[in-house]
Chain length 152, copies 2
DNA sequence: GTCGTTGCAAACGGTTTGCAAATCA
DNA sequence: TGATTTGCAAACCGTTTGCAACGAC
């Protein structure tokens, strides 16, 4: 899954031409579990020695988003968009407020709720957005270590 | 609730000085059920004959947000922030994608879900954000009228 | 060869900021 | 009067766009 050929196939499956910037952006998204902003992706490309333009990165990400290949998420704290590969079933996230790690949650408790709300309000519900915020285990442990001066 | 004196009391209760811009912004927020962007609030002020500056509107809204007097919501479609009076219990919204009307939903289906997720992931869940998107009855009716060429 | 894609640089637009003048308590 | 708040204009910054050159197929 990590060699260039597979990214080409991947792009092809989504009806997209194989270009150098697209493969590289895809490569970064595959290698990263967390949300990445356009700027971060651009920086990683530069560090990898790529000569690519910011606007190209934005255009590629926009294209990927349109084709449902990636998901675009707004991060309120920094007022930026972040991107991540869109895997089937990844609809709900748990986001650590400290390290921004994103955890996928399978299963959705809202379908029944949506039905109820639709009935009560007369709305056609066409979608929802659910984010849970919290501290992941690692960050919580660091907190505990620092706060109470436990060993290390 | 509509005369100037009450806005002054309101501001005072939140520990804020009474200034003309603040009272006027508050007045607009009280008179509007829907989400308003900073720009929209600014425009309403101009139309009402106020001589106020955009940056003042932003500063007032930021202050109100800090003091939990209003709630700041990001509208993904237009990439703008919108504001509304923060009333106790208004935690979940139903938002019409067409006219941006906001409907408050009482009751939250997520507490139990949060507990389950916390147990499964090891996160401390400290909050969530839930938005349902859809078409309100009015907009849906307009759609139907336009789309199928019904009377009118 | 043709059309889509990229690089470049400039624009865009919502929001923020520095500073001096005005205003509130 | 002394601390805050406002107006103004300019900056900011993430993102978008027009256009000419480039590259995929």
């Amino acid at each position: 899954m990590t060699d260039s050929k597979n990214y080409e196939e991947f792009l092809h499956q989504y009806g997209l031409k194989n270009t150098r910037p697209r493969k590289r952006v895809l490569e970064i998204l595959f290698g990263q579990e967390e949300l990445l902003t356009a700027e971060e992706i651009y920086q990683e490309l530069l560090e990898a020695g790529e000569t690519v333009n910011v606007s190209t990165v934005y255009r590629v990400l926009e294209l990927f988003t349109e084709k449902k290949l990636v998901e675009k998420t707004f991060l309120p704290e920094t007022r930026k968009y972040a991107f991540s590969l869109r895997m089937p079933g990844h609809v709900h996230y748990l986001i650590c407020i400290r390290c921004h790690k994103k955890v996928d949650l399978s299963g959705c408790p809202l379908s029944e709720y949506e039905r109820k709300v639709a009935a009560n309000t007369g709305f056609d519900i066409i979608g929802h957005r659910l984010e849970l915020y919290g501290l992941c285990k690692e960050c919580r442990d660091k907190d505990a270590a620092g706060g109470t001066e436990q060993h290390e």
